[in-house]
């Protein structure tokens, strides 16, 4: 809140913000329909592929007795990783009092929700017996990291939903009050019901602020927990490449990199499609670029530890694993993710000229692609080498080359998460109207 503004001034500012941000909610563009159509087509093809997997079993994938986890688990780790950005932006940076996150915090929350929901789905896709999913609740054993994972992922979904929903309340109230004539009745009814009778009294705002603050604090340990536990799915085993004590922080720091990349991509396209240049400013990209450098440097530090220390000692099994990564079968993928997905993004983002919307979006794409392939690198090469020789099995057991069905299903699940995100950014204001107005000196408690 800068200087005190007159009532009229405030009214004008508020009306402009409201109209700018709500414009996309009121109409559906041709491009949007096309985008949704593409996503739905991909999902339909993936459902068809999944039917074959259900019918014939996981045989349709390239997974076999040695490489028994493949793309699905890699994608699961990628989803959980990317979903952590909700916590990073809103909670960590937000609680530090940084105002530049206001226009992008909701985007981060929406990414978090969409991705963490699909993390749950892809685990079911990976199961040999999805029909027995309920066994996890009927016979659940708390000693198993999978049980911890389900617990914390469910908690994270819940808190993420609340963190998305509660700050939406004032905006829902605004939409209910102002959009009745502009949108279809069903849509207005949604806002009316979801607004929970919000009127915006000082007391309501007081409760809202307090609740959000509690949730922001709560989500930090939960987010750390989900990705740490996800890392333990690997680190709790006795395999070279996974048997690492730094896997928790290694995963968490990598998650912030992946999430920041995803937010940059989303920021760019939302700003362009919804013409929100005034709100998601060049400065937002500049700051996100700086944040990306910070989290990437932390990740780089953990990478050094993860590869340099065993690489220095070259214990038998570690040596085999590292050999595969550094100069062996996965060398290209490894160096591509390390250089293209980590080193170059850090280096380029150091320059102010690169921290502009378009370059940052490209860097975001490199980071997200690198993040996915990095998860692939973490999961698969470790499984290719067992402690004991792999013998008396067909050649396909020695390797892992994902099948078309597997790739289709994976892309389909990613498409679902993108679709959820696409629907969320259409149905709800991507930028918090009330917080933005508040920042620009509008007394929101009086201007609903």
């Amino acid at each position: 809140m800068s200087e005190i503004k007159s009532q009229e001034e405030q009214k004008v500012i508020f009306e402009k913000i409201r109209k700018d941000i709500l414009r996309p909610v009121m109409s559906i563009s041709y491009g949007y329909k096309l985008w949704v159509g593409i996503l739905l087509t991909i999902i339909a093809v993936a459902v068809w592929a999944y039917y074959y997997q259900l019918r014939d079993g996981l045989m349709v994938t390239a997974m076999r007795d040695y490489v028994s986890w493949g793309m699905y688990i890699a994608t699961f780790v990628f989803f959980v990783a990317t979903a952590l950005v909700g916590m990073l932006i809103s909670a960590v940076v937000g609680l530090l009092g940084k105002k530049w996150i206001i226009p992008i915090s909701r985007i981060a929350e929406m990414i978090a929700l969409a991705f963490v929901m699909m993390a749950g789905i892809i685990i079911v896709v990976d199961m040999g017996r999805p029909d027995r999913l309920l066994n996890v609740f009927i016979h659940g054993r708390f000693q198993s990291p999978i049980f911890w994972d389900i617990t914390v992922v469910t908690t994270y979904v819940t808190i993420s939903m609340l963190l998305l929903f509660l700050p939406l309340l004032p905006d829902l109230g605004i939409m209910r009050n102002h959009l009745k004539k502009d949108i279809p009745a069903w849509q207005w009814n949604i806002y009316n019901i979801l607004s929970l009778g919000w009127v915006g009294t000082p007391n309501q705002y007081k409760i809202l602020h307090r609740t959000i603050r509690v949730l922001l604090v709560l989500i930090i340990p939960v987010a750390l927990a989900i990705h740490t536990v996800t890392s333990w799915l690997s680190a709790a085993t006795l395999r070279a490449g996974w048997d690492s004590t730094i896997f928790g922080p290694y995963y968490v720091s990598g998650a912030f990199v992946a999430g920041s990349g995803a937010v940059l991509i989303a920021m760019y396209f939302i700003r362009k499609a919804y013409k929100l240049e005034e709100y998601i400013t060049d400065e937002s990209f500049n700051m996100m670029g700086k944040l990306l450098v910070l989290v990437s440097l932390v990740y780089l530090y953990f990478n050094l530890n993860e590869f340099l220390v065993p690489g220095y000692k070259m214990k038998t099994a570690d040596a085999v694993h590292l050999h595969t990564l550094f100069v062996g079968k996965y060398a290209f993928m490894f160096w591509a993710t390390q250089i293209g997905g980590l080193f170059l993004p850090i280096f380029l983002s150091l320059f102010r000229k690169m921290r502009k919307p378009f370059p940052m979006m490209l860097i975001g794409i490199a980071v997200v692609l690198g993040a996915w392939f990095k998860r692939f690198i973490i999961i698969i090469p470790t499984l290719i080498h067992a402690h004991l020789p792999i013998q008396n099995v067909p050649q396909e057991f020695h390797e892992y080359n994902p099948t078309g069905i597997e790739i289709t299903i994976t892309i389909g699940v990613i498409a679902i998460s993108v679709l959820i995100f696409t629907i969320l950014v259409k149905l709800f204001p991507v930028i918090p109207i009330w917080e933005t107005a508040h920042e620009k000196g509008v007394d929101i408690e009086k201007n609903l």
């Binding site: 076999r64 007795d65 054993r141 690997s234 402690h387 020789p389």
Partner: protein
């Protein structure tokens, strides 16, 4: 043999006490492994051979094999026993009759190995030897720890089993097992005649089920009737010793000779696989000294990789 492994008397008595005569008769049938469908409701009498070798007459209608009871019994294990296997690496000639017997008994496909005979070399320049590798039935099993649904578990008699009625197919146990002892039914398993009507036997893991794990069971179904495991009895070369650590006795599957377990382990300086992992295997190996076969270079190095590879 029967002096060392005699679960039949006690287990059957417990069984009768617990479930009554009818179920006991059924139990005798299951013990014999005759689990095929027999559920006609007529009162025809059938002859059955009980586990202690007597013939009894039972009404056919009473021969319903109950999955729940089988599961309970299978999870409980055989009281008072601590099964143990000793593999004499000097004796293994790679005959692979153990693998064949095992795959036959458990209805496994050719690429599915509960027991796998590996060609090993401990270090470069040292001799090659064959190493049969069943499940180690670890006393600190990494696999059962990670199971989210208690589908795989360790019994009081030391055996690690898998319940494919409960397994959700997450394959965490495969990832966790350092011995690669577990296999998965990636597609529709191999069914043999009668499997479709067969009640699932957790101690045999038959019928196998698509989308679930399968693994070595130390032939728990055989142990229940006082027999040696399939692989052990099939070996023509005297490679396997099997028995009960509580009785400190093991029996050779080929010669049927019974010796003191502690003496066998002591005299031969027996070892377990990868003891540094802390898994505490119940399978011991006797060093491959004075092997019965010639040195064979298989061009695999001691890590099981091609010798001509990059990896020295």
């Amino acid at each position: 043999m029967s002096q060392n492994i005699t679960p039949e008397v006690t287990s059957r008595r417990n069984f009768l006490k617990k479930f009554g005569i009818t179920v006991g008769a059924a139990g005798a049938v299951t013990s014999l492994g005759l689990l095929s469908a027999c559920v006609n409701d007529d009162d025809e009498m059938v002859s059955l051979l009980t586990t202690d070798g007597q013939t009894v007459q039972v009404k056919k209608s009473q021969l319903k094999v109950n999955l729940v009871e089988m599961q309970e019994r299978g999870r409980e294990g055989i009281p008072g026993k601590k099964y143990v296997m000793v593999i004499d690496l000097a004796k293994c000639l790679n005959a692979r009759l153990c693998m064949a017997a095992c795959q036959g008994a458990h209805h496994l496909k050719p690429e599915q190995h509960h027991i796998n005979v590996l060609q090993m070399q401990n270090a470069e320049g040292t001799g090659f030897y064959y190493q049969p590798k069943p499940c180690m039935h670890c006393d600190n099993p990494p696999c059962t720890k990670v199971c989210p649904v208690d589908a795989t578990f360790k019994r009081q008699d030391g055996i690690v089993l898998i319940d494919n009625e409960r397994c959700i197919g997450c394959r965490f146990c495969i990832a966790a097992c350092p011995y690669s002892a577990r296999v998965f039914n990636w597609s529709e398993p191999k069914y043999v005649e009668g499997d479709e009507n067969r009640v699932y036997d957790i101690e045999l893991n038959v019928p196998q089920k698509k989308g679930t794990i399968s693994k070595c069971l130390f032939s728990a179904d055989q142990l229940r009737v006082g027999k040696l495991p399939y692989c052990v009895s099939a070996c023509p070369n005297g490679t396997y010793w099997f028995g009960d650590a509580n009785e400190d006795a093991v029996t050779n599957g080929t010669s049927k000779e019974t010796v003191r377990l502690s003496t066998l382990l002591h005299e031969n300086a027996a070892y377990t696989l990868m003891p540094e992992l802390g898994t505490k295997p119940r399978v011991y190996y006797l060093p491959p000294k004075d092997r019965l076969f010639d040195y064979q270079n298989t061009e695999k190095n001691y890590l099981g990789e091609e010798e001509h590879g990059h990896h020295a």
